[in-house]
């Protein structure tokens, strides 16, 4: 079997307040769209927000090793599509 793509949506407080509250829908929609090719989960603070002033780039989402700053649903889906190519 092919390797699964892992998507981690940060639901730590900083990311949540800065917008990952609106990314929670990914946790439902991604499996519907990609089946078991993608493994998506909400995770606690990824530790990126506390570095210097990096809170302003939250919310963060990790797609495999790639970090998406100021993540939106569209950005995350695009990153997944890139990996699947």
């Amino acid at each position: 079997m092919e390797k699964q793509i892992s998507v981690k949506v940060c639901l730590g407080t900083t990311c949540f307040v800065m917008g990952s509250s609106n990314l929670q829908e990914l946790i439902e929609t991604v499996p519907k769209k990609y089946g078991n090719k993608v493994d998506v989960a909400g995770v606690p603070c990824l530790g990126l927000c506390s570095i210097d002033w990096e809170f302003s780039k939250a919310p963060y989402v990790k797609v495999d090793d790639e970090i998406i700053k100021e993540a939106t649903v569209e950005k995350v889906l695009k990153a997944i599509d890139e990996k699947l190519k």
Partner: protein, 498 residues
């Protein structure tokens, strides 16, 4: 229907970032200087300018204006020459927050054109010309084979839109004007949106609707931070009163939320659902009394936006609106009574409560959920890692459910005697149409759809408030879980009877 899902995300990101920076500046060793630097820190030299702005200077000017709102001042009334550092000092020295909580950032507002009717390129210049014939004001003529509207004559009636067989005529809307249920915001001659505060009901719909994020709340965050900083010296406890909607806002349990709020520096946390229980009991009693006296219907009275609507626009409704006070009112009364001399801060999902608090001496300050969230970011609090802390007084399931549309009527219904059943009518969000409906009920003295009208200014109830953080669906889920593990108000009620 979810208000939050169409809240322009980019603009709330900006507003929250400003709040975090204002709070961090206050907590730093140089509040004035660090406040002055906010626009520069956000757009340093040579940084990219978002493609919707002309240059970095304009972008910084706009960030400066947003910071003014974060400091709690009116953007319209602040002169361009005033330094942010001076405003920071002024904010710290202010005794009471400014009165009207909304302010418009006109520099960001230039972006959209005034509302008008417009003939698009789809116009075929047809022979029938129904638009020309149907216009009662003679505003449409044919130029170069196409219809053209004379803006001087056009009255925005929209008849031409309806008759055009090609659907070539469109109305350009201004989102804030379109969202306002009472026509209190409109563009002036200069193309800047202006709020008519005599008409405004503080529902915050313009703030949610504006894609440029041009409508801001004047924050009271500095006032509250100051109270916390000096509480020992002043010997004043600072008490948080948390409205039910708050329990759907952050990714944690209710007990962790309480602990996180204590970490902000508050001395105690009250659930406003506790006051909601008093509202429910009083309102159920009042409903029975009114119906026994032959009245046709009663409306709820817990939503601040609705209350302002009635007082300003539908005075005939005052008679039908319940005299019961809001959950905030009862909770603040209890909190002040149990903590003499304390400062009380209400945690609100919407801007309308800021208005309500101005008329209630038991509520000293109001913070919204964006401000609370920003404060947690500034202090680096991870709510999910907090310990569990219990509430001294447990509120009922029904009280905790007040923030979901239909929840208030449902709570009142629970306590009604069988002989006097309620037929609830739920107004799930104020719009131009629902305002017309309410006017009709008030004028006729009856509502054919039922006898207990619950009115929520926001779609979805308080969870759809203009300054909530969570999307509405997961927020409903989280609140519902909390409700399901709580006891019914019926049990309390029976106990008290025995």
């Amino acid at each position: 229907m979810a208000m939050n899902s169409n809240t322009p995300k980019q603009t709330s990101h900006l507003k929250r970032e400003i709040l975090v920076r204002v709070i961090k500046a206050y907590l730093s060793d140089n509040f004035e200087e660090n406040t002055r630097l906010i626009p520069y820190a956000m757009r340093p030299k040579n940084s990219d300018v978002p493609n919707y702005r002309c240059c970095i200077f304009k972008e910084r000017a706009i960030l400066r204006d947003r910071t003014i709102a974060g400091l709690g001042f009116s953007i319209e009334e602040t002169d361009d020459s005033v330094l942010l550092s001076d405003l920071a000092v002024k904010a710290e020295n202010r005794e009471t927050p400014q009165d009207h909580p909304l302010t418009v950032l006109t520099t960001a507002c230039k972006g959209c054109v005034p509302s008008r009717i417009y003939v698009t390129d789809l116009c075929q210049g047809c022979v029938a010309r129904p638009c020309v014939n149907t216009c009662k004001f003679g505003a449409i003529s044919i130029q170069n084979g196409k219809s053209v509207i004379d803006p001087e004559k056009c009255k925005n009636c929209g008849m031409c839109i309806q008759v055009c067989p090609y659907q070539a005529i469109q109305k350009i809307i201004v989102p804030c004007e379109n969202a306002c249920p009472v026509g209190a915001i409109a563009k002036d001659e200069n193309g800047h949106a202006k709020i008519d505060f005599d008409k405004c009901i503080s529902c915050g719909k313009c703030a949610s609707a504006c894609p440029f994020g041009a409508v801001h709340e004047k924050s009271q965050i500095i006032d509250v931070l100051k109270q916390i900083k000096h509480k020992r010296k002043n010997q004043k406890r600072v008490i948080a009163m948390v409205a039910p909607a708050m329990f759907g806002q952050l990714p944690c349990t209710p007990g962790q939320l309480k602990e996180a709020i204590l970490k902000l520096g508050f001395d105690d946390v009250y659930e406003v659902a506790q006051g909601a229980d008093i509202t429910t009991k009083t309102e159920a009693h009042e409903f029975v009394e009114r119906l026994e006296n032959g009245e046709e219907f009663m409306t709820t009275s817990c939503c601040a936006g609705y209350n302002e609507l009635v007082d300003k626009h539908i005075p005939e409704m005052q008679h039908f609106r319940s005299d019961t006070k809001t959950p905030m009112y009862y909770t603040a009364e209890i909190a002040k009574c149990e903590n003499p001399g304390a400062i009380t801060v209400f945690f609100s999902p919407c801007v309308a409560k800021k208005r309500e608090a101005l008329n209630n001496s038991n509520v000293d300050y109001v913070l919204n959920y964006e401000e609370i969230g920003a404060w947690m970011i500034a202090l680096g609090i991870q709510v999910a890692e907090c310990e569990e802390s219990n509430f001294k007084t447990e509120a009922s399931a029904e009280g905790r459910n007040y923030c979901i549309t239909g929840g208030v009527a449902k709570a009142v219904q629970t306590l009604l005697p069988e002989e006097i059943p309620a037929h609830p009518v739920i107004i799930d969000g104020l719009t131009k149409q629902t305002v017309r409906d309410l006017k009709k009920y008030a004028k006729n003295g009856m509502c054919e759809l039922g006898n207990l009208i619950e009115v929520m200014a926001c779609t979805g109830g308080c969870l759809g408030g203009n300054s909530t953080v969570n999307a509405i669906k997961p927020a409903v889920k989280q609140v519902t879980n909390y409700v399901n593990e709580s006891h019914s108000i019926k049990e309390q009620f029976e106990e008290q009877k025995n």
